[in-house]
């Protein structure tokens, strides 16, 4: 009885808040959703009594990993942290980026040239494998969520408030290529210089086949049901992996995994069999598809027909992995909570802790 009442309350507040959230949006508004009232109350109750921020030694959360070749790789994360490996991910050392903003995404095209993006319009670029990082100018001051370069010169960045940035000169100049509704775009993936997808909140998927000159809205919606007043929206998406002009994978909240084989005209939800949990990253390798998430690392070798959990040592049962990077054809590296780094071969069936994990 009481539970039901609480649930109803939360539901009602949610509707109200979502509405507000949609109309006057993050940051530039001081009217914040009430649905979080209960949450903050709860959070405060427990936080006041207990210290958090626990860290014996500092190991920052990692959100992205990218390899320039089989050996040279970079992982970026909280507080401007950048780790570098020269041995395919077995050992890592810190690199100095000169920023303390969260770096959300990193993209290398070879063993020298790479970019990293993050909070407050942070764009970093290196031409010497990360020995030195220099800042590039972003046309928008938002949290830049994803970056991908297809050549040394051409790349895209997706940001909060559905902005897509584009460069053709290695980032010397970044142009605002596309803008839409005020939602977060979480990730961008190109399978070649022309075809790519960008995905984000409420299931929004944008697609281009001309290198971003035009971006078309393929999926996702946010509105209120006229009958019930409830939110009607697509499932939040955290990551996308473009395999070829026809095929791409997306992952998101509640264990959501979908795949298109018709260039995004239709998306088929995949039945992975895992409990509802956050799935943060998807990577497609030669021999299958890998998904990282909250206490989860999944693999399918048959295009999604069957899914298998993989062996991970030490356990990620009480933590999360955010993204998986391909180290050429040799295998994979996954990164996540508190500097966790895991490594696997091309089969990706068995993962072992790397770095100081």
């Amino acid at each position: 009885m009481m539970k039901q009442e609480t649930l109803n309350k939360i539901r009602n507040e949610k509707t109200l808040s979502s509405e507000r959230r949609n109309s006057n949006m993050r940051g530039h508004s001081t009217a914040w959703p009430k649905r979080l009232g209960a949450l903050a109350l709860v959070a405060s109750a427990l936080l006041c009594a207990f210290p958090v921020f626990a860290a014996r030694e500092i190991r920052d959360d990692l959100f992205s990993v990218s390899f320039g070749d089989e050996k040279q790789g970079w992982a970026a994360g909280r507080w401007g942290s950048m780790l570098h490996t020269a041995d395919g991910g077995q050992t890592w050392e810190k690199q100095e980026t000169g920023v303390d903003h969260t770096l959300s995404s990193v993209s290398f095209v070879d063993e020298k040239n790479g970019w990293a993006v993050g909070d407050r319009g942070t764009i970093l670029h290196t031409t010497d494998g990360g020995k030195t990082w220099e800042k590039q100018k972003s046309p928008v001051p938002y949290f830049l969520m994803g970056v991908q370069f297809v050549t040394k010169d051409e790349g895209w960045i997706v940001t909060e408030r559905t902005n897509i940035l584009h460069t053709t000169d290695g980032g010397k100049t970044w142009n605002l290529q596309f803008q839409d509704q005020d939602f977060i775009l979480k990730a961008v993936s190109f399978c070649d210089a022309r075809t790519g997808w960008a995905v984000g909140e409420y299931g929004y998927v944008y697609h281009t086949t001309d290198g971003g000159k035009t971006w078309t809205h393929q999926a996702g919606e946010f509105r209120f049901s006229e009958e019930t007043g409830e939110v009607v929206g697509g499932n939040f998406l955290f990551d996308v992996a473009a395999v070829n002009p026809q095929t791409a994978w997306v992952v998101g909240i509640d264990g959501y995994v979908a795949k298109t084989v018709d260039a995004g005209k239709t998306w088929q939800k995949q039945m992975t069999g895992v409990p509802k949990t956050h799935l943060f990253g998807v990577t497609v390798g030669e021999k299958g598809v890998l998904i990282a998430g909250d206490a989860t690392l999944l693999r399918t070798a048959d295009g999604g027909a069957t899914w298998r959990g993989v062996v991970v040592e030490p356990s990620i049962k009480y933590g999360w992995l955010y993204r998986i990077g391909k180290r050429g054809k040799e295998g994979f590296v996954a990164v996540g909570q508190a500097g966790w780094i895991y490594r696997a071969d091309a089969k990706a069936g068995a993962w072992k802790g790397a770095g100081d994990r």
Partner: protein, 805 residues
């Protein structure tokens, strides 16, 4: 009879009207006795810290905003085999939580465990739906699936993992905050009851926190009385063995009893607090009383023998002759306490007042003891008490042999060299003595005391700790919303964690809450588990939290006008070296960034660690000052008594050696100079000077008798007075030493040993160094009177021919 001074006349009057005087004394004692019932015996935290230190002023100011703390209790439930995730253990935790929540002594809302109703799990689902459920309330999980879910909810939550439940899952915490002005013995009984009720063969309960520590200390009070009893018995025994008569035994005890009542009554009337930690000091006073009484009773029996059993005359003579050395000795002790005034710590000021008075009452010993003795008819055998001649029993022979060795023509060089070597060693060791507490846990109790063991268990298993360090911000209204404030907090916590990875544990502030809300608001994306850097965003977030969270909860982190905020960092230990590291790391952080920002300013070093640093700094400042003041005081006093600077120097310098020996003990045993040890070290300085004073006084009397022969004077003085000194030493050392053997409180035991060591050192120096100094310097203040009365040239001749062979 020779012309009497005014003081002599007074003594004569007292000796004649013993009964009336005694009646007066008893009436006075009764009045003071009333005061005893007014004594407060509490441990008041605020009194132990330097009141005008900037850190303390900071604490005082901000604790009014954010609450004081210091009264938290942490209960850990630990299983020996397996983990806590079984129905039996979880049920225990649940029941314990509901038990504690019902106690009147604690704040119910601040009582938190994994089984509390307000320990929640927050989840974001697709389409932005948020669910909030209790972690484990009202029921414990029963199926393996439920159990697994509970584990996941705990271990994947940085707010719980390591803080509420140990990372290895073998222990969990129940945290509560006691109300102000509770009875520590009552909360102690409740907590002990909890321990008893819920521990079994596989479950242990560990409790720490200031109320618990105080409870343990109070629980040792009966033991203190027992130690007290034992030492009284020991003293009585020693007195009996020495005097072999009833008045000799009873008069020092009666005297000590009367003066103890005076002292306690005085404390009661002044209304000052008398901390149980310092009971041992009261004991020291009592021991000094016994010692002095003993010295005086000894003299009385000598005088009784000399006056052929005339008790009144003996009493008069004792009062008269013992006044000066007695005064000098007491004054030195009073000076030792009075200089505590120099420490800007309330407890020290109180001690200075209480103890100076108490010590000063010992002056009456010189009058009371002969009086009490003279009331009891007593025959003495002249052989034993002959004043002028030394009875050469084995004890006297041993002492004389020691002294003989010390001043012998060749051996004196050995003695000198040994003492010099000892001095160098001790001074070197003393320089290594640490300020503050060099050991983790509570320095008051032994390492193997349950409290310290519990503390160690908690330190090992959890990220929480009672050792906290606070960074404050204060600025114009609303300025807490400026991102630079909280961003600085965050960067500060990071900096400290990076700099001190071995002792940094965790931090707590509004940051954590802001990060969680920020993340939840962004679909549970881990990327947003951070503080917004954007002013608008942060303002919105904090404004939102402020509007939705109850003020009491939020009030710990920021005030309602948004002028002040704080972040608390937890560290693993409080040893003095680490305190310095923490302080230095904190100041280094602000080397690269301003403490003053646009609309406000950051303030460093609040919290328990700030307080401890403040105490240590005050100790460092006042310790040297106090020591110097004591020595100077004693130097002046002794110089005045003997009207000779040489006498002052000869009496003061060896004290420094005796004290550095005691300091060496502290250094070797790793006892730091703390609020507890500073008064001991200070009064220790004045202790034992009386031994030498008695020796010098006796030497002055002996010199004419021995016809100006220095060697004979020294040997005779040692033979007669030396024995009294050794006996007195024993009667003082023995009761103090009982604390070392019988007290479960490490602090008191250490203090007992420390004081005993100073006394013993002074006794030994009285038999060795002092005779040697007299022999070498042949000071005028001893010989003056004799030379004035005689032809000096003949005396010198005699002195030269009776060189020791």
């Amino acid at each position: 009879m020779e012309t009497k001074s005014r003081f002599d006349r007074f003594c004569w009057f007292l000796a004649q009207h013993q009964i009336k005087v005694l009646a007066l004394v008893l009436i006075l004692t009764a009045v003071f006795g009333v005061g005893i019932f007014r004594i407060h015996t509490e441990v008041i935290l605020s009194e132990m810290f330097p009141y005008d230190h900037p850190y303390l002023q900071l604490m005082g100011k901000f604790s009014q905003v954010f609450g004081g703390g210091g009264s938290g209790v942490v209960v850990a439930v630990k299983v020996k085999k397996g983990d806590i995730f079984n129905e039996k253990t979880l049920t225990k935790i649940k029941n314990m939580t509901s038990d504690v929540e019902l106690w009147d002594e604690v704040y119910r809302v601040l009582t938190v465990s994994m089984a509390s109703n307000h320990t929640k799990v927050v989840k974001t689902k697709g389409k932005g739906e948020i669910t909030i459920e209790s972690l484990m309330f009202p029921d414990v999980p029963r199926t393996p699936k439920e159990m697994e879910l509970l584990k996941k909810n705990i271990f994947s939550n940085p707010a719980y993992n390591g803080s509420l439940i140990s990372r290895d899952g073998t222990a969990c915490l129940l945290v509560t905050e006691c109300k102000e002005n509770i009875s520590y013995s009552r909360i102690f009984a409740l907590l002990r009851g909890l321990e008893k009720k819920y521990s079994d063969e596989n479950t242990s309960i560990h409790v720490v926190g200031f109320p618990m520590l105080m409870g343990w200390i109070y629980s040792l009070t009966p033991q203190m009385y027992m130690v007290f009893g034992i030492s009284i018995f020991a003293i009585a025994l020693v007195l009996w063995l020495i005097f072999d008569n009833f008045p000799g035994m009873i008069s020092p005890l009666a005297n000590a009893g009367i003066l103890t009542i005076w002292g306690l009554g005085f404390i009661g009337f002044t209304g000052l607090n008398f901390s149980p930690l310092l009971y041992v000091l009261a004991f020291l006073v009592a021991a000094r009383m016994i010692g002095n009484s003993h010295q005086i009773a000894y003299r009385y029996f000598e005088e009784l023998d000399a006056s052929k059993g005339d008790r009144k005359k003996a009493s008069y003579e004792t009062m008269r002759t013992m006044w000066v050395p007695n005064f000098a000795a007491v004054a030195a002790d009073v000076a030792g306490f009075a200089v505590l005034f120099l420490a800007k710590i309330v407890l020290m000021l109180h001690l200075a007042i209480i103890m100076s008075f108490w010590m000063a009452t010992i002056l009456f010993t010189g009058l009371l003891v002969p009086l009490v003795c003279s009331l009891v008819p007593q025959e003495v055998t002249s052989k034993e008490w002959a004043k002028e001649s030394c009875q050469l029993d084995w004890k006297a022979r041993l002492m004389m042999r020691i002294t003989h060795f010390s001043i012998g023509p060749r051996t004196r060089y050995i003695t000198g060299a040994l003492i010099l070597l000892l001095t160098v060693f001790c001074v070197w060791e003393t320089s290594k003595m640490k300020i503050g507490d060099p050991t983790p846990g509570s320095p008051v109790l032994y390492d193997n005391h349950p409290y310290n063991k519990d503390q160690a268990v908690l330190n090992k298993l959890f990220d929480a700790s009672s050792e906290n360090f606070v960074l404050y911000y204060e600025g114009s209204a609303g300025s807490v919303y400026e991102p630079v404030v909280l961003n600085t907090f965050e960067a500060f916590a990071r900096h400290m964690a990076e700099r001190l990875p071995d002792i940094y544990k965790s931090s707590t502030s509004i940051l954590n809450m802001a990060s969680i809300v920020n993340r939840t608001f962004h679909d549970g994306d881990m990327l947003w588990y951070q503080l917004p850097r954007d002013q608008e965003m942060l303002t919105g977030l904090l404004g939102y939290i402020r509007n939705t969270v109850d003020r009491g909860t939020l009030g710990r982190f920021m005030d309602s006008t948004l002028e002040r905020a704080q972040i608390t960092l937890y560290f693993a230990d409080h040893t003095s070296g680490n305190l310095l590291r923490i302080r230095n790391a904190a100041y280094d952080f602000f080397k690269n960034r301003p403490m003053k920002i646009g609309n406000g300013q950051f303030h460093l070093a609040g919290g328990r660690i700030g307080m401890e640093i403040a105490v240590n700094e005050e100790m460092k400042r006042s310790h040297l000052l106090i020591d110097l003041a004591v020595y100077l005081g004693i130097l002046v006093l002794c110089s005045l008594c003997y009207k000779s600077i040489v006498a002052g120097l000869m009496l003061t310098v060896p004290l420094i050696l005796a004290n550095s020996m005691a300091a060496t003990y502290m250094s070797i045993r790793d006892i730091g100079l703390s609020i507890n040890t500073l008064p001991i070290a200070a009064i220790g300085a004045g202790l034992g000077v009386d031994f030498a004073i008695y020796l010098y006084s006796r030497a002055m009397e002996e010199f004419p008798v021995q016809n100006g022969d220095w060697t004979a004077t020294i040997m005779q003085s040692v033979c007669t007075c030396g024995k009294a000194v050794v006996y007195t030493g024993i009667t003082v050392i023995l009761p103090i030493l009982t604390w070392y053997f019988f007290s479960d409180m490490k602090f008191q035991a250490e203090v007992g040993f420390f004081l005993s060591l100073i006394m013993a050192a002074n006794v030994v120096l009285t038999l060795t160094l002092h005779p040697l100094m007299i022999y070498i310097f042949k000071p005028k203040f001893i010989s003056q009177a004799f030379f004035d009365a005689n032809n000096s040239s003949t005396i010198r001749e005699i002195g030269a021919t009776t060189e020791l062979g």
